[in-house]
Symmetry: C2
Subunit: 155 residues, 2 copies
């Protein structure tokens, strides 16, 4: 499993490297360090948490660079950004992950992923019906996770 992670990290670094090259962006150590940090995590995180975590790990980055790099990674589809609420934007790594949506617990903030083929059907149908080119979507279900919450209250 650990080997798998290292392998994935090498792959995404190559992809990121190509993306930077193609767009004439520079390959800075900060950018690759942030990418690596993201791919070592397994959760949904916000920019600040990522920044703090980098700081704690001896790596010297600024918030500006974190935000800048997150944008770059979102643009080359290595990271997905989700707006779960007004002041709650969470990111997640996306390389090798299949499309999925989210169920968010209103009490503890826990995020669960799920897949349902019907959402794709809805996109196809509405795109055709309304004459839009649908590029992406965002489906979030909000609810309460019956009990498991109290112990995991977040932040």
């Amino acid at each position: 499993m650990t080997a798998k992670i290292e392998e994935t990290i090498q792959e995404v670094k190559k992809i990121f490297s190509s993306h930077l090259e193609q767009n004439s962006f520079r390959k800075t150590p900060e950018r690759f360090a942030i990418l690596e940090e993201i791919y070592r995590r397994n959760d949904h995180f916000d920019a600040e948490a990522l920044y703090i975590h980098m700081k704690n790990q001896s790596y010297r980055v600024s918030r500006a660079t974190v935000y800048n790099t997150l944008d770059l990674l979102v643009n080359c589809d290595l990271v997905k950004r989700h707006q779960f609420g007004k002041n709650l934007a969470l990111y997640e790594k996306s390389y090798g992950y299949k499309q999925h949506d989210h169920l968010i617990c209103e009490d503890c903030g826990k995020v669960v992923e799920f897949c349902d083929p019907r959402i794709q059907q809805i996109k196809d149908m509405m795109g055709e019906l309304l004459k839009y080119n649908i590029t992406h979507h965002s489906l979030n279900l909000f609810g309460k996770c019956n009990g498991a919450c109290e112990r995991t209250k977040k932040q």
Copy 2:
């Protein structure tokens, strides 16, 4: 049609009035003026636009009151709040409207509403499967409205 609007306004004012009474909130002219203003609109609007519009109409309100009243109205289901993007929260009146989701044009910001029964099926199924009480959802499709855009570029 105009008569219909006046009628609706009377109805929602009664509902709001009851809600305020039940929660021991005061019935201030500002609150009813904001409710009325919202129900005279037919679009998706943000808090600032509502504030500006009230100001332009000789009505003296503050942003604080606008935000406060919007919260009250959302809580009694007379208004719905949608987070369409990072800094893009839009509201819409909801009394007498059936459940619907949104398709947002990435070029011009235009918002189209649509209904699809499959989303309810997904909610029911995922709630049961994952043992959550689903309270609400947010489904937004993003795409491009093929041409009609260029002329309606927003803001």
